[in-house]
C-alpha cells in the first residue's frame, strides 16, 4: 500500500487498515488528510485483492474533527473544498469493499461523518462522539443527510442542534454503532465484525448497500424499478451461478 502523510495504511491478507495519524493535532482533519483519504479510496477501489477497509484513529483518539487552525480569516475554506470532502465520503460510502469504522476515544465532527459512511460501525466504551458544528456556526456536512436514517429525525435534531457529546454505548443504543466493548476486547470485536461481513460478494454488497442507502429517498415504484435492475444483476453474477450449480450438485449427490 502507498504511504500517506496523515494515514498509516497496512494490508494484512484481504483487509486494509487505515489509521488516522496526526499525533500533534489530535488527528484533526486538514486538506492533506482529505487528499490522503481521497487517494486511499481510489487505491482501495483499484485493489482487486482487498475485501475490507478498516478506518481507525491512532492512539486513543479517532479524530478531533476539522482542523480550524489550518485556516486563516483571510484564506478561509471554500465550498469547493467542502465538496471534495463530500465526494470522498461518498466514495467511502459506495466503495466496492466492505468498510468498517472502529472508534476509540474522541470522534468529533468530520470524524463522526466518516463513521456514518461505513458499512459496519463499532466502538469502545471510551468512544466519545460529538457533532458540534451547528453550535460553532457551520454545518456537519452531509451527516445532515445520513444521521437521521440511523437514529431517527428527533434524535438527530437533538444531537446536531445541541452539539452534545455522547458515548460509544449511547451511540449503540441510538443505532449509530453496531457494537461496543471494553478497549481490551476491541481487537477481538474488530476481528469478529470483519468475519461477520465476509464472504465478500462484491456485486451483492454494492447492490444491497445502494438500495438501503436510497430507501428513504424514493417512492415505492421508483425503488421497485431500481430493486429489479439490481436483483437482475445479482442473479446474473458469477457467484449466483456458482450457487445454482452447487445446489444442483447437492441435490443429485
Amino acid at each position: 500500500m502507498k504511504d500517506y502523510e496523515t494515514l498509516i495504511v497496512n494490508k494484512k491478507g484481504n483487509v486494509v487498515t487505515a489509521t488516522i495519524h496526526r499525533p500533534n493535532s489530535k488527528n484533526a482533519i486538514d486538506i492533506q488528510m482529505l487528499n490522503d483519504l481521497s487517494g486511499l479510496m481510489e487505491q482501495v477501489e483499484d485493489s482487486h485483492d482487498v475485501d475490507v477497509l478498516v478506518l481507525q484513529g491512532d492512539g486513543d483518539i479517532f479524530s478531533s474533527g476539522i482542523d480550524l487552525s489550518a485556516f486563516s480569516p483571510e484564506k478561509t475554506l471554500d465550498v469547493h473544498g467542502i465538496h471534495k470532502w463530500e465526494k470522498m465520503c461518498r466514495q467511502l460510502e459506495r466503495l466496492d469493499k466492505f468498510t468498517v469504522a472502529a472508534v476509540n476515544g474522541d470522534c468529533i465532527g468530520g470524524g463522526a461523518q466518516l463513521v456514518l459512511a461505513c458499512d459496519a460501525r463499532i466502538g469502545t466504551t471510551k468512544a466519545k462522539f460529538q457533532l458540534n458544528e451547528v453550535k460553532l456556526g457551520f454545518l456537519p456536512g452531509m451527516a445532515t443527510f445520513r444521521i437521521a436514517k440511523y437514529i431517527g429525525l428527533g434524535r438527530a435534531k437533538n444531537l446536531i442542534l445541541t452539539g452534545k457529546t455522547f458515548t460509544g454505548s449511547e451511540a449503540q443504543q441510538l443505532g449509530m454503532l453496531d457494537e461496543v466493548c471494553e478497549y481490551k476486547d476491541f481487537d477481538a470485536l474488530l476481528e469478529s465484525t470483519i468475519n461477520s461481513l465476509l464472504p465478500f460478494n462484491p456485486v451483492a454488497l454494492q447492490m444491497g448497500r445502494r438500495l438501503l442507502n436510497e430507501c428513504y429517498a424514493e417512492t415505492y415504484e421508483d425503488f421497485l424499478g431500481d430493486f429489479l435492475a439490481a436483483q437482475h444483476r445479482c442473479l446474473n453474477s458469477e457467484s449466483f451461478k456458482k450457487l445454482v450449480i452447487k445446489a444442483k450438485k447437492d441435490q443429485t449427490s
Binding site: E42, E45, D46, Q91, R94, Q206, M207, R210, E221, G225, D226, L228, A229, A230, H232, R233, N236
Partner: protein, 362 residues
Amino acid sequence: MIAHTPPNQNAVSRRPRIVSVGTANPPRRYTQDEIIELFGETDKRITRFFKSHHIKTRHLYLPDPVNGKIPNESNQDLSDRHMNGALELGPIAIENCLKPLGLSPEDIDYLCCISSTGFLCPGITAHLTKNMGFRDNVHRFDILGMGCNAGLNGMRPITGLTHANSGKLGLMLCVEICSAAYVYNKSLVTAVVNSLFGDGVAAALIRDDQSDDWQRGPQILDFESYIITDAIGTMRFELEGSKQSFFLDRDIPYVLGNHVENPINRLLGRNNLKLRDINHWVVHSGGRKVIDAIKYNLGLTNHDMRHTLSVLKNYGNLSSGAFLFSYNELRREGVIREGDLGVAITMGPGASIETALLSWKS
C-alpha cells in the same frame, strides 16, 4: 480480446468536436391520458402502460380525431407521415444546428441521415438536398433500420471522415417519426410501443477545426461498439397484417444493463480512465427499465442520469436522436468545465450497445 490502438495516440492528437446540436419536434404535444382518450382505450391491462409517471408528455404527429377518436390508418398514411414529418422537422433541426455558427446547408461536406421509423428511396439525404440546398456533390449516406443506437453508429463514420479531412463539415441527422410506426391492435405488445416512443429529430454538426475550443463542444476521442448476438430477436420490426410493428422483449432492458460494462470497460480501459473520471453521462432515454439497469450496472446515480430521465419524461423515447436531446440539456445547464470527460451510451436492436468518449479539453 480485440487488439485496438487508442486513436488519441495518433500523431494528430486533436479530434473532431461536436460543435452544435439542433433539435425539432412536432408542434402538438400530448399527455399520456390524452392519448388513451384518443385511442378510446379502456382496457386496464393496456392503459397501465400509459400510466407510468416516467413519461409525462410526447410530441406526436397523430391524425386529427374523427368523432373524438383516432381513425384507422392505412400503411400509406403511416408512410406519408414519416416522409412529411422528416421533411418538416429535418430542416428545422438542421437550421437550429447550423444557424448559431452562421452556417448553411451548402457549407456541409458530409451528410448522414438516420431513421428506423420509415423507409424512403431515394433517402432522406436526397430529399433534404433538394429541399434545403445542400451542394450537389455533398457526400451522403443514409442509415436505416439500426434502431435507437444508430445515432452513435452514424457519428462514428462522420467523426472518421472529418478527422481525416480537417476543416470539412459533417452533419448527422437523426429522424425518428415514431408515430409513423404505431400499430394499434389492442394488444399488449403494441401498447408497450405506443406508450413509449415519441417523434423528434436531432442534428449534430461535427468538425475538426483548430479554431474550436472546449466551449464550442467536446472532442470525440473514441468509440466502442458491442453486440449481444444472442439477443438478436429481442427488439425487432415484424409484419402485423400489412404494417411493420415494433416488438420489444420484456427482459431486454435488463440484459442490456447487464452487458453495458463490457464496452464501457474497453472504452475507458484503453484510454487509461476509470468510471470515476467521467463527469458527464449522455445516455439514450430508452425507457425506465433500461435506465434503472444502466444505473445499477455502472453505479450511476439519478443525478448522472438527470437529462436522460428528463428527456424520457418530456418526449418519451425519441429513438436514435434521444441522446442528442440529452446532450443539449447538459449544454444548456452550464455545468461543463474545461477538461471534463463524458461518455455517451446508446442501445437498441441487435442487441447493440454503442458508446463514445467525449472530452472538453481545449
